[in-house]
Symmetry: C2
């Protein structure tokens, strides 16, 4: 079957991508770019996964532009890869079979803000910082913060989350509806603007996290949150990772609606001290943020302080003043750069897993031991309210032995998370990097169901092929 199709293609057109590019050039003029530099920039994976540039990059301005590209590509069975800001971490934007990259840079308009409904409608190239700047004067904000100033189309496509997810959820909880171009060139709207619906299959949640393999997002309706009246922030040392994790569990069980609860392990605190010239105690720390009224953020901080103390941690250093809050959070904000600074010039590989919170301390502690035994440096940062944590693995790519030890560590990390009923990725997504773990995580029947869905919606396998589930060459 695959063979027959590829023969058919060869007979029809020996160089389908060139044909598509020629047609695109007519339509898009200088919004089609084929220069080596631009192509490579769009196949840059920000990790050690090899860059695989597309054949050309198109900058669409409308949904109809996207339809046209998809239709031309479908006719020639040429891949189409959606691109936001290129900050994904598992090779999501790579073009292993070449094809046309759709860079949504120019589709960056906020189309509507409905403050009464706490929602907005935007184009996929809008970044989260851009959106929040736009919203600032309206008393609302978009709470999902994955760190990078990613595009919201990309964040939806990879089911991103980040520091605020413990309170506000992930992209799956904050996308109300999507407009998307399917592989057949048709445009769908996955839902209405109503806050909830039971009217049929949840196409919204099916597209969120599908990494451009089932449809190309061209418009998003997002939930917004009211800007809290007051915010309090604090940092709190703990004698052990376990104590910090137990404090997190108790906090959430007590119904304290913590907005951020971030773990920095001792090596990460050490890195921050070095980088930001701080004098934090080099022990596991929780960084926290509470949103609410003046009275409630004070109450939340105080109640957390009591919990921390019960578990041998503390004291919680907290404040509601904006400038003091920034100072407290500085170490957390600088964590990535601090990790890099531990070994200047060395590559930092970010990876993440997520486990039930009751297993988090055990998983982090075992991973720390593994890092040490592997003679590696890898500070740990966790969105611990969700049981999610990250390793910033410092790796000298020229040292084959070290690379080997890092790869082995990553395998064990995923194995450990899966053994604890966790997932191989809490928020970075699958891309190319984590495909090999999906069978172990989901089992063959579930993976077969995913493949069946992919095949049903993209029978020619043109939408970001070779990601999440591989159908093989068609």
């Amino acid at each position: 079957m695959a063979l027959a199709q590829s023969k058919e293609r060869d007979q029809r057109d020996p160089m389908p991508a060139d044909l598509v590019i020629a047609k695109l050039a007519q339509k898009f003029g200088n919004r089609l770019v084929t220069s080596q530099a631009v192509r490579e920039q769009h196949g840059n994976t920000t990790t050690w996964i090899e860059g695989q540039p597309p054949d050309a990059v198109v900058f669409p301005q409308t949904t109809e532009d996207v339809q046209e590209v998809v239709r031309l590509c479908a006719a020639q069975r040429v891949p189409v890869i959606a691109f936001g800001t290129g900050t994904s971490l598992e090779g999501q934007v790579n073009a292993p079979r070449g094809g046309i990259c759709l860079d949504f840079r120019d589709m960056n308009r906020v189309l509507a803000v409905h403050a009464e409904d706490l929602d907005c409608v935007i184009e996929p190239g809008v970044t989260r910082k851009q959106l929040n700047e736009y919203l600032r004067d309206r008393g609302v904000f978009f709470p999902i913060d994955p760190g990078a100033d990613a595009s919201l189309g990309g964040m939806a496509a990879t089911r991103a989350s980040g520091t605020n997810a413990v309170r506000y959820g992930t992209m799956k909880d904050n996308v109300l509806a999507l407009k998307a171009v399917l592989a057949n060139g048709e445009v769908i709207k996955t839902a209405r603007r109503a806050k909830k619906s039971s009217a049929g299959y949840d196409l919204t949640r099916l597209l969120v996290g599908s990494e451009g393999t089932l449809g190309i997002i061209t418009e998003l309706t997002l939930k917004l949150a009211g800007i809290p009246e007051a915010i309090s922030s604090g940092i709190c040392p703990f004698p052990s990772v376990e104590a910090a994790c137990n404090a997190t569990i108790l906090t959430i069980q007590s119904g304290i609606p913590v907005a951020r609860i971030e773990l920095l392990d001792a090596p990460q605190v050490r890195a921050c001290n070095l980088y930001s010239k701080l004098t934090l105690p080099e022990v596991p720390m929780l960084f926290l943020e509470f949103h609410g009224t003046e009275a409630s953020v004070a109450e939340q901080a105080e109640r957390f302080g009591e919990i921390a103390q019960e578990l041998g941690g503390g004291p919680l250093d907290w404040t509601t003043r904006a400038e003091d809050r920034s100072k407290l959070w500085q170490a957390r904000h600088d964590a990535y750069w601090a990790a890099r600074a531990l070994r200047p010039g060395i590559q930092v590989l970010a990876t993440d897993v997520c486990v039930p919170i009751s297993r988090l301390a055990e998983c982090v502690t075992a991973t720390q031991r593994d890092i040490e035994q592997s003679r590696l440096v890898a500070p740990i940062l966790g969105h611990v309210g969700d049981g999610n944590f990250h390793l910033s693995l410092l790796v000298d790519l020229d040292d084959a032995d070290e690379v080997g030890r890092v790869k082995a560590l990553l395998e064990r990390l995923v194995e450990r998370a899966l053994a604890m009923d966790g997932t191989c990725t809490g928020e970075h997504g699958v891309g190319q990097g984590k495909m090999k773990y999906l069978a172990a995580e989901h089992g063959e029947p579930a993976l077969a169901a995913m493949r069946a869905i992919k095949k049903a919606l993209d029978p020619l396998d043109i939408l970001n092929p070779g990601k999440i589930v591989a159908l093989g060459q068609t």
Copy 2:
């Protein structure tokens, strides 16, 4: 194609259901029932949609039982319909083509409670009241309350929600993972117990709301919430539906984390007064509940009271004492029975739509006018924090003229909701009753995508056929 298949079936076996039943009898003994009474009870739709009984009812005890039934049915292309408590409202449990009903009455065990992770694992026949009784001593509860004491498998299948959804979300937000038997007889687990994951397509959310048409749920992992330290409740009169809706909007915009905010329109209040011998002012009322600490529930109630007053409503009558709370909420709890009592012996038809909250007042007011002009009685109850409202339509099924006016009203109600960017059903689901609205709501390309998914996962169309998307006879 359809013809060829049906011919093929006829040649292979003229009475496939009987063949399946004979085999099931061997395996299930008296857990297979074919009596007229039991069959009719399982095809009873609780509305005016005609009952369509299955050919037999099986009471499975394990996932393997379900696999066996599905495999036998698949071999003969006989439909399989999952059944919880039969409280669905749009004909979801009907068997228009006959087939085997799987009644999950006996699969009602709570398999695990992980209080630290705020989750539990249960069988699909567990009802929400049963679960909350089981959980009571553990400091946690399952917050979704659709009114009826429905089974949790059914609530997941129909994407149920209810009064608490404004704070705790709907079933889509509270199902962490599902075990399900697919049409091919394979068992899948849709996700791990980790609170979030980016590892592939969201099969959990695809099954939630699919009404048994994509897979048969045999186990659920549900999120739980901590039992709030304190609860305050209140009722508050308003001069108009608009004022009540505006108070709701302001409450949510201000970030007051209201747990319940329910609108009763004046006819509904009148019905409650009659039924429960109350003396409430017969104007639009909001019934509210706040969850939190002692201090925060008092603060929430007070802040809401101020908002109500600003909008010409109030005073808010509120309390934190359990017995007083029950008294305040009595009218809301009795609303359904009160509506029935308005015209004893007459059928009450429940229907729901959901619109963006900014359009809610307009939608409710226009609907009230429509009810009056249609010379009908239909009190309105709304989960107004979500923009969702219900009509309890009193209809004398023997009065053809009245039935005609009710049907016309329902059409206009859905049209009105869709015109306001709303949905034809916020929480009751599609079943048979609302299939005709899906094309208008989603558009043909999205509906085609839903059909493609159904076809991919259930190519023989044996799982609850004729619901949500119809593939036609195969």
